[in-house]
């Protein structure tokens, strides 16, 4: 536990969390092996049949959520009587015995680097968090898993491991936070060599902070929340806050081209990185200086960023840091409909005045957010809520089935924040937007962290869900949102899903030339033979001019569309890099290409 979390100046995510360092060797001791997040934090229906979020880690922890049950029952026609409980503990006998490369193992022992071939350790590192991965685990189905887990402690340990792997022809799969949603961590079933999961969690130190240049040199295994917390101690932050930052690691961000919620101020990972060190079968790759920009041919960092563990292991990264912001303020705006909301976001982007974060939820998500309101403490608050609702729907004539809400986060000098806030609200007003208070905004961001827990609750009651993202030019945002949502509904119908699915989206990032959109879908799968995937939805996205991925990456889940996305020549370029850097496919997770 750490006391820093109580500081008022803490980063926004940290306000939702009490801190826990999770870089244990055996993470499964505090984290779920077949679901999201911490073992002690989960949604459940208590004896009264009310939804409740357990644990103490989040703001929502220990609270009753009165609206959730009704929302779940009405949205999915789910029934509390029909349960689909998960297999409670891992049955070690379901795990194949490890294929060990004795010679490798012998030399590894002599290096003193810790390792394990315990079934639980191996299974924990065999998956990310795609629906099908978690679904299989809950059913107790376990496929190919790594044969060995190693925990290097520093860059040199990694160099040794990679050398040994090359020498003994062992397959290496780097493992950071395990939050992949692209099947990137799945072991290729056709792999016959011994698979070693290289867990970077012990490489979690900030090696130095350079206050003159505002950079920090950090080991790549550090997890997002730890990085922010440690930098906060010195009065700094990176400002990189992907939704997974509780668990995802710096190396993972680099390897997948991650994007953070506050990229409008701090930039995405490619803007934040100054220097990268990566260990490959050919040796170590790094640049010779830390110049802020170079014209030295194609930027080799861009071969590393997004390489998804196919070329090597990122061990150390120099990142930009910023002084912690003086002031933070949440906000929210209600729009009469999604179209107006998107038009407003577009205008904000045109004027280049986007706050640290601006997100637009569609009507379904707005209702969902509403259902997740914890029990209000006083009659007065509930009265006030009623009044607000009355004002918006009756007085302003907003249709409760069409309105949508944007959540905002401003950050910086107090004065500037207030000025900025006014500018944004003025633009919003032109698009019929009504300011809807800080609470709504804050709750919106909190949901980001608990929504993943909610999927586990759904899965207890025949409801499965998945999320995916894309990016597109501004003029296609509405079309893609509409068509993809409709495609999901149609696919569910065609596949025999009995009740209409929840199919919802939100615009999560704005750029000069376009936006990033996040989709969720969930449905009741009772009576269904097999569970659906987001395959058709991705086809729809690509057909409508959306990208294959904005920040989740390709992994193995989206590999089939790589060629059409980047052209055959582009594929050839990437392949030739792979062939040079890793001719024996030591980094054999088979992502991307």
């Amino acid at each position: 536990m750490c006391c820093l979390c109580n500081t008022k100046r803490a980063m926004c995510l940290l306000t939702f969390l009490t801190c826990t360092y999770i870089h244990f060797f055996h993470r499964q001791e505090i984290m779920k092996w077949n679901g999201w997040g911490y073992s002690d934090s989960k949604f459940l229906y208590n004896k009264k049949g009310q939804a409740e979020f357990t644990g103490k880690r989040y703001r929502l922890s220990g609270m009753i959520i009165p609206g959730l049950r009704e929302w779940m029952e009405s949205t999915f026609s789910a029934n509390l009587q029909h349960k689909t409980p998960a297999a409670p503990i891992l049955n070690s006998s379901a795990v194949q015995p490890p294929t060990l490369n004795e010679a490798f193992l012998k030399e590894l022992k002599s290096t003193g680097i810790p390792f394990s071939h315990d079934a639980e350790d191996r299974v924990f590192r065999s998956h990310g968090h795609c629906l099908h991965e978690i679904f299989a685990l809950r059913e107790g189905k376990i496929g190919r898993v790594p044969d060995l887990v190693v925990w290097p402690n520093c860059h040199n340990d990694v160099v040794k491991i990679v050398e040994l792997a090359c020498k003994h022809n062992v397959c290496l799969i780097p493992y950071g936070g395990g939050t992949s949603v692209s099947s990137a961590l799945e072991c290729p079933p056709e792999e016959t060599r011994s698979i070693v999961s290289l867990d970077t969690s012990q490489m979690n130190r900030i090696l130095w902070i350079d206050e003159k240049n505002l950079t920090a040199h950090v080991e790549a295994g550090i997890v997002g929340q730890d990085l922010e917390r440690l930098l906060n101690e010195s009065g700094y932050c990176t400002g990189h806050e992907p939704d997974s930052m509780e668990f995802s690691s710096l190396g993972g961000w680099v390897a997948t081209r991650a994007s953070g919620m506050k990229k409008n101020i701090y930039g995405n990972i490619e803007d934040l990185v100054v220097h990268i060190k990566m260990v490959t079968p050919r040796g170590v790759i790094e640049k010779s200086c830390q110049g802020p920009r170079m014209s030295t041919g194609p930027d080799v960092h861009h071969f590393i960023m997004g390489s998804e563990g196919t070329l090597g292991v990122v061990t150390e990264v120099t990142m930009k840091i910023r002084p912690m912001p003086e002031y933070q303020k949440y906000g929210s705006v209600v729009f009469p409909n999604f179209e107006m909301g998107v038009a407003c976001l577009r205008e904000v982007a045109r004027q280049r005045c986007a706050p640290a974060s601006i997100r637009l939820m569609d009507n379904e998500q707005f209702k969902f957010g509403h259902a997740l309101k914890p029990q209000v403490s006083s009659i007065f608050t509930s009265f006030l809520d009623g009044l607000k609702k009355f004002y918006i729907t009756k007085f302003k004539g907003f249709d409760p089935n069409r309105l949508c809400v944007a959540t905002l986060l401003f950050e910086g000098d107090r004065e500037k924040v207030l000025q900025h806030e006014k500018q944004v609200y003025d633009i919003a007003a032109k698009f019929g937007g009504l300011a809807a208070g800080e609470d709504n905004g804050q709750r919106g961001y909190m949901l980001t962290f608990v929504i993943a827990y909610l999927r586990d609750l759904g899965m207890d009651y025949y409801v499965i869900g998945e999320s995916f993202e894309t990016s597109m030019p501004w003029d296609r945002v509405l079309d893609i949102c509409r068509n993809v949502k409709a495609r999901i509904v149609r696919e569910c119908k065609d596949k025999g899903v009995q009740f209409p699915p929840l199919s919802t989206c939100r615009v999560t990032q704005t750029y000069d030339a376009g936006a990033c959109v996040y989709f969720y879908f969930a449905f009741n799968y009772r009576g269904l033979k097999q569970i659906a995937s987001d395959h058709a939805a991705r086809e729809e996205i690509l057909a409508n001019g959306g990208s294959l991925s904005h920040h989740h990456g390709v992994g193995k889940l989206r590999k089939e569309w790589m060629r059409e996305s980047i052209s055959s020549v582009g594929m050839g370029m990437l392949k030739s890099v792979k062939d040079y850097v890793d001719p024996n496919n030591i980094f054999g997770n088979r992502n991307l290409l």
């Binding site: 003029d475 079309d479 495609r487 057909a543 001019g545 059409e564």
Partner: protein, 680 residues
């Protein structure tokens, strides 16, 4: 390959069709006024944001698409963009509909009166309307009725009003606007007017396509237009025009809507109002320009019995499913969608195949009356010069035989099975008493007295042989227009029968070559989707084998004992067309210089001469429709070349060697040569 999806190979007998209800029945039993003033609250598109006619125009004028073209045009012409915008606004003004419920109510009232006088019944498949209602709720809808009469679009709106369905906006030809009052009334009942040709006019095209797209995308109203482009004077479906279909599919292809429903509607008239009018038009008496006074003259029509109308609302066709695994929609990803681009080959062929598929869907649901079958028999007898006519019982026997055959081929035949066939035949004959003459139990086409009837002022002696021939031809072409209604049922088997007839041997390959030649030759004449030769051949083989006419093994095609009658009938179906195309070839071979404009009058003269000397058997080859189609086919095949531009603009350059060989091949004198086939 691609057209596999267009023709699904299935047993036409298994086609499931809805039942009909007569919508006039209620009109005869309750007040028309109350009906015209009834509460009208149709189900609308779920994504609709209601807007006014004026707002709609503003949306068009302010659209990015039009804005782009306006800037372009103003640069090209060196005028200000305000001027061009003004021009666009004027075009829009001329074009736009002004749908008004009060006008619709007026029409509802008047048409009720008119329809009750003219028709015995107007039968609708109500299930189709239910499907339509669902479709309108879910997606933007395009209504695609067949086009045989002026009546069609008034009838469509009348039906939709009656069943409380959303009223469509209808693309109509500019010629209607000539009728001052009526034109405006049609506008107020939802018609919008398009110039017949605006080839190079970018601005016109932009205004027009944007206007249609905006109404469609917003779900403002179902958009209705005629795939065939114009009324078919022959009652054969016309090869589809692609312009509007291209426009209405565009919003889906570019991702602006999730899907679009195309609803083919088949309207069949037991007796066409324009029957003799069409025949005379085809024979070269120019069609009267649409005028309000002309319409009133048509009042004498009101005293006649036009039987019944059947309207079948087909299964809505989803553009999305048509395009699935056919069109790569991501081709639109790299250019802003408001910039007009020429559709790619892929898109054009997709739209073309879809158009054919839709026209075939219209054809399949056309209701055929027993009279259509009688027309087959009577025309064949006439051509065989059986002067004394056909005995009633023989006619009945042949009609019954044809009834069974056409049903086996999947025809949507309304033959009342509970009534003895002889009564069915005689009641059909009596409805069409203007075209047939019955004396002493024998039936034939009413060829002789027609002249006297049509031109009462003149003495019979003044009639030249040429005039007499044309008078005869009016009856024959009128009759042919009924026979034509069922041609689509027989066309593929008929092509096969003729191929068997002309092929030198019974080798399957040779027959296929011959089939392919004929099919290609006639693809301007009948609805035969380009590139689907193999499917059509297989379909024809399937039908003829199934009905026991042919036996087909690996290599050979054999005619069965009882197959001869069917084959003889099928060959005779195609015969007039074969002869017509031959005579067109012959005519062209004998020409030296000829322009496109001169073609019809000259070929008509040539044919009249040959008919009078008795060298031609089929009077119906006088049809200008056939002649135009033949010329179009010859141009397509390269036997005739149309010179564009220059002093010789419009001159036809003739490849006489090829024309000669085509004529001989059509006549069966030459085998389907490799060279000719290769050419095609």
């Amino acid at each position: 390959m691609a057209s596999k999806a267009v023709y699904s190979h299935r047993d036409p007998m298994l086609k499931k069709r809805d039942d009909f209800e007569d919508m006039l029945e209620e009109r005869r039993n309750s007040s028309d006024l109350r009906y015209a003033l009834k509460c009208y609250t149709p189900v609308l598109y779920k994504g609709l944001t209601p807007c006014k006619v004026s707002e709609l125009k503003q949306m068009v004028l302010q659209s990015d698409q039009l804005g782009y073209v306006i800037t372009q045009v103003s640069k090209e012409k060196g005028v200000t963009s305000d001027e061009v915008t003004g021009e666009a606004a004027a075009i829009l003004e001329e074009m736009a509909q002004r749908l008004q419920l009060s006008t619709v109510r007026f029409f509802a009232f008047t048409l009720s009166k008119v329809f009750k006088t003219l028709f015995r019944s107007i039968c609708i498949n109500e299930e189709g309307l239910q499907r339509l209602q669902q479709a309108i709720h879910n997606h933007p809808v395009v209504l695609l009725p067949s086009h045989r009469s002026y009546m069609d679009f008034l009838l469509m709106s009348y039906i939709l009003y009656t069943y409380d369905l959303a009223l469509p906006v209808i693309a109509a030809g500019m010629d209607f606007m000539g009728m001052k009052v009526v034109g405006e009334m049609l506008r107020m009942s939802g018609a919008f007017f398009i110039r017949r040709s605006f080839g190079g006019d970018k601005l016109y095209w932009a205004v027009f396509s944007e206007y249609v797209k905006i109404m469609l995308k917003n779900g403002y109203a179902p958009v209705e237009f005629f795939l065939e482009g114009t009324r078919s004077r022959t009652a054969k479906s016309l090869t589809p025009k692609l312009g509007l279909l291209n426009i209405v599919m565009d919003p889906f292809l570019k991702g602006e809507v999730f899907d679009i429903s195309l609803v083919p509607v088949s309207i069949s008239y037991e007796r066409t109002l324009e029957e003799a009018l069409y025949a005379r038009e085809l024979l070269g008496v120019p069609k009267p320009k649409e005028s309000t006074s002309g319409l009133f003259k048509a009042r004498k029509i009101l005293s006649e019995d036009y039987g019944s109308i059947h309207v079948y609302f087909g299964q809505p066709v989803s553009v999305r499913s048509l395009a699935e695994s056919r069109v790569n929609r991501s081709q639109f990803n790299l250019i802003p969608r408001h910039i007009p681009t020429r559709p790619s080959e892929e898109i054009l062929s997709f739209v073309n195949d879809s158009a054919y598929r839709l026209v075939r869907a219209q054809e399949e649901n056309m209701v055929l009356k027993p009279w259509v079958l009688l027309a087959f028999v009577l025309l064949q007898k006439q051509a065989a010069e059986e002067k004394q006519g056909t005995a009633l019982d023989e006619l009945t026997e042949q009609a019954v035989w044809l009834r069974d055959l056409s049903r086996q081929y999947g025809a949507f035949l309304h033959w009342p099975d509970h009534i003895p066939p002889s009564e069915v035949v005689s009641s059909s004959l009596s409805l069409h008493r203007g075209l047939v003459r019955i004396s002493e139990g024998r039936v034939q086409l009413a060829l002789e007295q027609v002249g006297g009837q049509q031109v009462p002022g003149e003495t019979r002696g003044a009639i030249t042989p040429e005039e007499e021939l044309l008078n005869k031809a009016v009856v024959i072409l009128s009759c042919a227009s009924y026979r034509n209604q069922a041609l689509n049922v027989f066309i593929r088997p008929a092509l096969l029968a003729s191929a068997i007839h002309t092929a030198a041997s019974n080798r399957k390959q040779e027959i296929y070559n011959s089939f392919s030649f004929l099919r290609n030759m006639f693809s301007n004449e009948f609805i035969l989707c380009p590139g689907a030769t193999v499917q059509d051949f297989e379909e024809a083989c399937y039908l003829l084998v199934k009905t026991g006419t042919l036996q087909i093994n690996q290599q050979e095609v054999l005619i069965t004992e009882r197959g001869h009658r069917t084959l003889a009938f099928l060959t005779s179906v195609l015969d007039p067309f074969l002869q017509g195309y031959q005579v067109v070839c012959r005519f062209l071979c004998e020409q030296d210089g000829l322009t496109e404009k001169q073609f019809i009058p000259a070929v008509r003269k040539f044919i009249i001469k040959h008919l009078l000397t008795g060298r031609l058997r089929y009077t119906e080859v006088l049809s200008s429709d056939l002649q135009k189609n033949a010329l179009a086919a010859l141009i397509r095949l390269g036997a005739v070349q149309k010179i564009k531009g220059g002093e010789e603009q419009g001159t036809l350059k003739l490849n006489k060697v090829m024309l000669n060989s085509l004529e001989d091949t059509l006549g069966g004198k030459l085998p389907t040569q490799k060279s000719v086939v290769a050419h095609l």
